[in-house]
């Protein structure tokens, strides 16, 4: 692609690259979610560098990084924070939980009980938490990167569909390629460079970027294209539940962010096509027959992409 990356974004990604080997696309997608005001669900096994990636991202944008390790006995208040009676002041005092940060790594979110999960997810959606009747606004930007073990691991509480819908993107990190892993080893021999990572943009700049993404043009033909894609998932023969309108919005926002990253002020179908699997796949529920046949939601999205014709002419008004 001839489009040049947005220089600010280029800087952020370059910074992350200093500590991460490969995985540029994961960093890019995370950044897209961050810029589009969404959240990311990473489905992967431990030890592939999720935390490292998020920390690097947080550091690069000088955001406050928090990490919540979800365990089965974690309580909602462990996430949101608690009001504690202060005998000195003679009143309840709010002790903020780990959710009160800018970039949150919610590790192994499916290990904890649904109750605790929903505390986090409510915060993700509302950008606020309510403790003892008092509503506390969350940081801005607020970006959650949740990770979950693949569902078939034992002792997990799979996220309900409605809550999955709240993640803008879902992706897999995957193991690094052998050469990349060699490089990982090489870097590990030296020291862990994450501590030395310097921020490249201020939080203020980040907010500006988030603002300018909203101005990226999405032509009506492409809105119709998105709608048609979402619509096709709903009617697909293997699909039990298709993509919700929230999914369509998510795809549009993500596409805007993606276009912006690549220095365009307008979305092209390529953006949509690239992002559709990440945005749509986790919002689709397959019929059990289709699941048995080994069809994945990604397959469905890719098939829909192949079937829906890309708009190549302006809409006739």
């Amino acid at each position: 692609m001839r489009n040049q990356m947005n220089p600010t974004v280029e800087r952020i990604l370059g910074n992350i690259d200093k500590v991460m080997t490969g995985k540029r696309n994961v960093a890019e997608l995370s950044l897209i979610a961050l810029l589009a005001g969404g959240h990311v669900l990473l489905e992967d096994v431990p030890g592939v560098g999720k935390t490292m990636m998020v920390r690097a991202l947080a550091k690069s944008v000088s955001a406050k990084f928090r990490r919540i390790q979800f365990t089965p006995d974690l309580l909602p208040s462990d996430v949101t924070g608690v009001s504690i009676y202060n005998p000195k002041e003679m009143e309840f005092e709010f002790r903020p939980g780990p959710i009160m940060g800018n970039i949150i790594l919610a590790d192994e979110i499916n290990r904890t009980s649904p109750k605790t999960q929903s505390a986090l997810l409510e915060g993700m959606e509302e950008h606020s938490v309510t403790v003892d009747g008092v509503t506390h606004l969350l940081g801005k930007p607020f970006f959650v990167m949740a990770t979950q073990n693949p569902i078939d691991y034992e002792g997990t509480y799979p996220l309900p569909e409605a809550q999955l819908d709240r993640f803008l993107l879902k992706m897999k990190m995957g193991y690094p390629a052998p050469e990349e892993e060699m490089e990982v080893l090489n870097r590990a021999q030296r020291n862990l460079p994450i501590e030395d990572l310097q921020p490249v943009v201020s939080l203020e700049d980040l907010r500006d970027l988030q603002q300018s993404i909203k101005e990226v043009v999405v032509d009506d033909t492409l809105k119709r294209y998105i709608v048609e894609l979402a619509n096709r998932t709903r009617g697909h023969s293997s699909v039990y539940l298709g993509v919700s309108p929230r999914g369509s919005i998510a795809l549009m926002k993500a596409a805007q962010a993606y276009a912006f990253i690549y220095g365009r002020d307008y979305v092209i179908p390529d953006d949509i096509q690239y992002l559709a699997p990440f945005v749509f796949a986790h919002r689709i529920i397959l019929k059990s027959e289709a699941r048995f046949e080994g069809i994945t939601t990604e397959d469905v999205v890719n098939r829909v992409l192949a079937r829906v014709s890309v708009p190549v002419q302006r809409l006739v008004k």
């Binding site: 001839r2 092209i268 992409l305 079937r307 890309v310 002419q313």
Partner: protein, 738 residues
Amino acid sequence: MRIDKSKKDVTFFLLYIFSFLLLWEWLRPLEELTDTGHLGVFLGFVFVSLMMSYFNMPILPSALIKVIIILYSIHFMYYEGTFFSLEWFGQLFNEVIVNSVVIINAEWTEISNVFRTLLFFTLLWLMAYLIQYWLINRKQIFVFFFMTLVYITVLDTFSPYEADAAIVRTVIAGFAVMGMLAYYRTADREVVKKNLKSAKKWMIPLVAMIVLSVGIGYAAPKADPIWPDPVPFITSYNEDSGEGSGGVKKVGYGTDDSALGGPFIGDDRVVFTAEADGRHYWRIETKDVYTGKGWVADKGTAVPVEFSPEQNIPMQPFEEEVKTEQRTSRVTPKIGYPHLVYPLGVTEVEASSGNSTLQFSLDPTTEKITSIADGQAGSIGPYSLNFNHPVYSVEKLKAAGPEELATEFAFLSKYTQVPEELPERVVELAEEITKDKVTWLEKAQAIEKYFRSNEFVYDQTLVAVPEEDQDYVDQFLFETQRGYCDNFSTSMVVMMRSVGIPARWVKGYTEGEYIDTLENGRRLYEVTNNNAHSWVEGYFPGVGWVPFEPTQGFSNNVQFEYDNKDDSQTQTGQEEEEDTTPTAPEKPELPEEQAQVDKPKVSFSEGLKSAGAFLKDNLQKIFLTLLVLAVFTAIMYRLRGRWLPVLYILLYKYKKENKYMEKAYIALLLQLERYGLKREKGQTLRDYANYVDSFFSTNEMRWLTEKYEEYLYRGDTDEEMWRNAKKYWEFMIRKVSA
């Protein structure tokens, strides 16, 4: 995919049964149409073969059993003695050897019955195997079912075999087999267990549907065929096609005239050659009873009269007062018929008897003369005929009338017979034609003349056979008005009889084709089957039988004498043959169109024909024009990749507005697709541009596409966009048109 033994359940057994029924339909007609006997044996063989296949008997034992059955059956049918004696087996072996030689020599008729039976068994074996193959391996029986239907319908159409029930049986069995096979195919494909339960689910609706469709088909009214029976045309190509069955006849002399009508085809076989002084028709016999369908001879009480070559022939067709000329003709038969051909007024036959005694026999009813050699009817060699050639006096003919015959009741009723069912309109027409005429001669001539009118068409091929309840003459006179000599002559006889003039129907040959003038001054004529003919003789009291020729294009050489004048007017006609040269049907162009007016039955085909004629006349022009247009269009279409880009460039290059960018770009996309670079439905323009550029090793498509994307997806763009992008576009479209 083979079905293992355990899967062969009840339904599969039914499958075999129905297939067997289908195969049975092939054998059924044999009994009726051929002299095949012992059909049960063959059926049993087929059944056993199929059953062995059903029970999956290994090939070797089943083949052994089949061979034993075949041998035993052959022994049962053809040989005496015990089955276990080797003697008959030796004979059979010899038979096979001998017949193999016969087959190699292609002497099909020589093949013996035993060997035929053996071959038939082999064929059945093959069929049984084929059915097994269709059922088990292919799971498709449609081909066989279709062939069975074709076979049955063909037999029903072309042979006496009545396939009404067979069609129903075949359809039921065929649907059943196809339906069940569809079940097995579907079950295989969908990997469904083939048990009784799943079979039930399929078979009950299948049965219901078969019952329903067969029931509807059986109960539904069946329209009569719109087209005339095609069979006569087809069977006419069969050399052995007989006469009298109402089908196509080969032209020529035949004895059975009880069912006239139907098309004719020519036959150039020479029947005899004749040396004669002049032209005259050759009679064979007359017939006097019109049945409504054709002619039969009134057997009556008349006894054949025998006479020898030297005796006068006891036949007097006209009174002695009639002026005659003594003539002699010599006939050399080429086809051995026992009957003689002779001119009207024959008095004597001279023939060399050789060693045998030669006698002739005259049937007084039909006036047919048969030669009898050594007491047996048979053909004879060349013979000479002496005859009195009549010159009829018109005066006398005019004088002849009903009065003189008033007492001859038997004669009158015989020769004015018409069937009771004869439609009234025939009589009315005859009366209408003759109402202004006084004498019998005038009346007869008026009727004769009536047939010369343009309404009638001489034709040998498009000739109808009367329906069961239809009169042959009535059909010709009022419906078809198209036919050959039999139509014309029969109609004239019937009409003459209707107005009370005694008349009879005469069969024989025309004078034939003039070949040569011989040294003795006589002329040589060749008479072929094409010259077979029929005409009319009317009886005039005081004169006798006078021939008339109603058939268009023919003329009888009957001499009439106008007494008060010196010159005798002789009606001599052109030598016209009843042949099938292609010029014949062209004559009556006009009458065909007239016939359309009030003859709906004919008009359909006539209308088709006239439309066809128009097409035929202009066919070349129409065809050529269409061809040129089609070729031009096709070439332009094929080459559109060449000229369309030029057109596009002309159209869009000089435009400035951005909206032409879209049109130009879409045109480019189409052109690229024609070039063979297809864009998938879900492929983005950018992706496609990369593909195109990598194909041509260019960059312009990408650049152009970027501009177009901006135009398309960004909305408001700068005014100069198309102007800037134009060069890329032109580059690309020239690239793909090259």
